[in-house]
Structure formats: C-alpha cells, structure tokens
Amino acid sequence: MSSFNFQKVRSDFPVLSQTVNGKPLRYMDNAASAQVPNLVIERGSEYLKKEHSNVHRGVHYLSQKATSAYEAAREKVRRFINAGEAKECIFVRGCTEGINLVASGYGRKFINEGDEIVISQMEHHSNIVPWQMIAEERGAKIRVIPMNQAGELILDEYENLLNEKTKMVAFSHISNALGTINPAKEMIETAHKFGIPVCIDGAQAVPHMRVDVRDLDADFYAFSGHKMFGPTGSGVIYGKKEWLEKMDPYQGGGSMIKTVTFEKTTYAGLPEKFEAGTPAIASQIGLGAAIDYLNSIDLDAAFEYEHELLAYATERLGAIEGVKLIGTAREKTSVVSFTVADIHPHDIGTILDQEGIAIRAGHHCAQPVMQFYDVPATARASLAFYNTKEEIDALADSVKKVIEVFS
C-alpha cells in the first residue's frame, strides 16, 4: 500500500466536493480532462485581477508583469519536461494544435511526393488527421504500426515499416483509449537509426508519468494543459530547436515577425515565430501553476498510487461476469476501458451518471482502435491521483446495477 495522502490532495480540488444527482461526485473521466486545483484557480484569478495585459507588446507596468508571468510559465514547462531551452517549448492551444503545427510546419518543408509518414494503430484522431491532411497535400502516404490484442504495438513490424522514404514517425506515449504506455525511448532510437524524426503525442503521459524529452530524445513532444490539472486553452509543443528553426511558421500575424513590409516579412526567432497573435496568456500562466502544484505534491508517490488504483479497478471490474476489459497491455497507466455484455456504453454512462459517476462512453476519438476490437464504443474510467478505491467500489457496484437493469 502506498503512503500517498490522497485525501489531502483531494481537498485541493474544489470541484470534487460536490454532489451529482444526489450522490457524491466520483470523477473518473480524467483522460478527457482533469480537474483543477485551488492553486491554479487562484493563480488565474490573481493574474486577471492584478497583472493582465498583452504580452511582449508594451513598455508599461502591466505588460511587463504579464510578459514575465507568461515567460515564467514557459520556464516551468521547460524544467518539468527537462527541455534544453525554454524557447523550444512553444505555447499552443493544446496537444491538437501542437501536432498540427508540426505536421504543417515540418511537413511543408520536409515531406514530398512518395514519402511516408508512420503512425500507429492506437492513435487519437489528433495524431491521425493532421498527418493525413499533410500527406494528402504533399502526396505522401500514411503507414500504420500494428498492435496486438492486448493493445501493444508490434515493434518488429514497426521497424519493418521504416525506410528511406519515411519522413516522420508519430505515435502516442500513452494511448487514451487503452492506457498502453508505448516504449517511446526505444521506438525513437529505432527511428533515429534511420535518421527519421519522431513526434510524440504526450497528452496522456505528462499527467501520469515522469517525462524527460531529452532522455527520450524526442524531436517533438505535444501535450495539453487541461489534462494535467491546468486550464483549457493551454498546451505545449516541444521541438528540438534544430527542427523548429528550419520550419516555417504555422500561422502568420502579430508577434511572430521581425519586420514587415508589403514586399517581405522576416520572422521572429523562437518561440515567437510559432506564437502568432495574442496567446492564451491566463491559461498558460495557469499551466505554469499546475506544474507548481505537481511539484508541490509527492509526484512519484502519486503515480505509484495511480498504479495501485489501476490494479484495483482492473481486479474489481474484471471480476464482474460480462465485463470485458479492452486494453490489457503489460505497461499501462490508470485507464480502464471496458464493455459490458452487449450493453451499449452510452447506456452504461447514463446509468452511472445517475450514481454520480463520471466516465466516458464512446470511441474516445480513436475510431481505429474501436475498429480493431470490433466494438462501436467502450466505457472508460480514467483515474487520477485524487481518485479512491472506494470510488472504484462504487463504479463496480454500479456496473453490476447496469447489468441488472438490462438483464
């Protein structure tokens, strides 16, 4: 048993103390969006009350306050993922925008007719569609790393897909639909043997495991603030500066230029080159506060505790007759996807909601995963360090109730 003080952490998240449909809220939809601790709420509100102005634009007091808070958040991100330089951490609206930025900025420069982009069977749509769009634009082809029934990528086949035409490998560090932790470091090393850069979708990893982009040697690494206890509208695309410097901007506008005439514009350096327009200042500062929060708790113990929750949920749900777990990789984070006999996940979701239990029911923006398992959708409980075993008991009991209703 871990010694992690989840009750203490729970009390940091005001949203968790409410009742829903007369039952205590049991929030188990963290993979979709995690809740926000007081520290983040207070930081955001303090910024709006006392520091708000536009960034990088004014010489006045507030503009400098806002700019320094915004840049301080970038430095917090750098440390948290151990990037070499803060300017390699580009602020974006979220993981989706980060991947689009890479697909378009890298793709237009380096992907040509007949080239190949390798993604995996278990990707979120946000790590599929941007690559399809750029593949179509550039006349390139998408190739897919297959997975096995447990939801693990088949690494031999991965290596076989790589060749001199491969211009990008993109896959998720952790699958949001299955919870699988992919061996990112090893897979990046393989791609680098062929000289291929790798873009990692880290949306589910940054909130649930230690991520060190330099140790991974990732070329690009994308994640969203709202899945790591920060505000929506915040997010980061990390990129090695060697790549970012060679890429063209993703969007044009204010802040991203050095000089503009009607004949020619020269672009600003990193990170501004990729941050056109007024950014989500308050949100990114909130992301910085979320990192402060994560640094303030015993994060390793928190991750270990999440692992215990995973084991417990797997055991409790797995023991119910009719429940089938989808995604049984050896290396997993606290995501439990399941189906219950032939009961549609939406019916499960609605009935659980009446018990105050928030889970996700659907395709989890990963339709190819659903196609692989030949199910229209799954129910998914995704746990964070503020969840409890008692909540998992309630989940298991309610799933039994669902089976009763439909029997």
Binding site: H344, H346, D347, I351, Q354, G362, M370, P376, A377
Partner: protein, 149 residues
C-alpha cells in the same frame, strides 16, 4: 433512480432486446444512413412505399438501447402511414424530445412514442432517440445520409 427508471422503461428495454423490423429490405424504394458521430451510433433505415403510403419500413445497425428502441418503435408506428402523416409524427417527435411540445398537456399523434419524453431529462441522449427519425425523414426526402452533429 426515478428519472432513470423513466428512461429505461420495460418497453424500451424490450425493444432494445428484441428490436422489431430489424432487417434489411431488399431493393427498398428508399434508404438512408444515420450517424451519431458522438456515440458511434450507426443505423440504416429502409422504406418501401406504395404510392404515398409506407408499405414497409425497417432498420439495421448498432446503437444504444435508446436509439435502438426508438428505431424499433418508429418502424411499428410508421407502417401504413402516409408520407404526410409520417412528417407530422417526425415533427411532433422532434418537438417532444427537444422540449417544444408536452405530450401530457397537448394533443398529439404520438401514442406510445410518448415514452421517449423521458429523454428530456438526459440532454446527452436526445440525439439517440431522434436519430432514427432524422434518418427516416432523410430517406423520405430522398437524401441518403444524415448526421446528428
């Protein structure tokens, strides 16, 4: 669980388990696909017309209990109706599940379909109940695809 039991009534559970007219119609005069991308509900509705009358109507596909039961009961109700009558039903059903018509206090043709008034309490499920109706409406209008986004 009173609202819940209102949503998952015996009738709905029964139609979910044993959907009526759950089959294809070969060489149907009309058919259309309905998709709810949010849930992954997918169904195809077939309609055979005789003049202006719905001679046969059926559906296939996969979906939650609400969408399946709704499709099943819809096929039962529509059989033998004229296109004009079907349109009135579509309109009334749509209004009922979006809260624009209260079948308890207003005169309607909905009959046993009033059971779906319960979805009003479950906003996320309204589209499940109305998917088959949008789909049959598309088929009757000669469109072959609808999506309830």
């Amino acid at each position: 669980m009173s609202e819940l039991s209102e949503l998952y009534q015996e009738v709905i559970l029964d139609h979910n388990k044993n959907p009526r007219n759950f089959r294809e119609i070969e060489n149907a005069d009309r058919w259309a696909d309905g998709n709810n991308p949010l849930c992954g509900d997918q169904l195809r509705v077939f309609v055979d017309l005789e003049g202006d009358v719905v001679k046969d109507v059926s559906f296939v596909g996969s979906g939650c209990a609400i969408s399946k039961a709704s499709a099943s009961m819809m096929t039962q109700v529509l059989k033998g109706k004229t296109r004009a009558e079907a349109e009135v039903l579509f309109d009334e059903f749509h209004k009922m599940v979006t809260g624009q018509l209260d079948p308890e206090s207003e005169e309607t043709h909905l009959g046993k379909l009033r059971i779906f008034a319960g979805v009003l309490e479950f906003p996320a499920r309204v589209k499940c109940a109305s998917l088959s109706w949008h789909t049959v409406n598309a088929a009757l209008q000669g469109e072959d695809e609808v999506s309830t986004e």
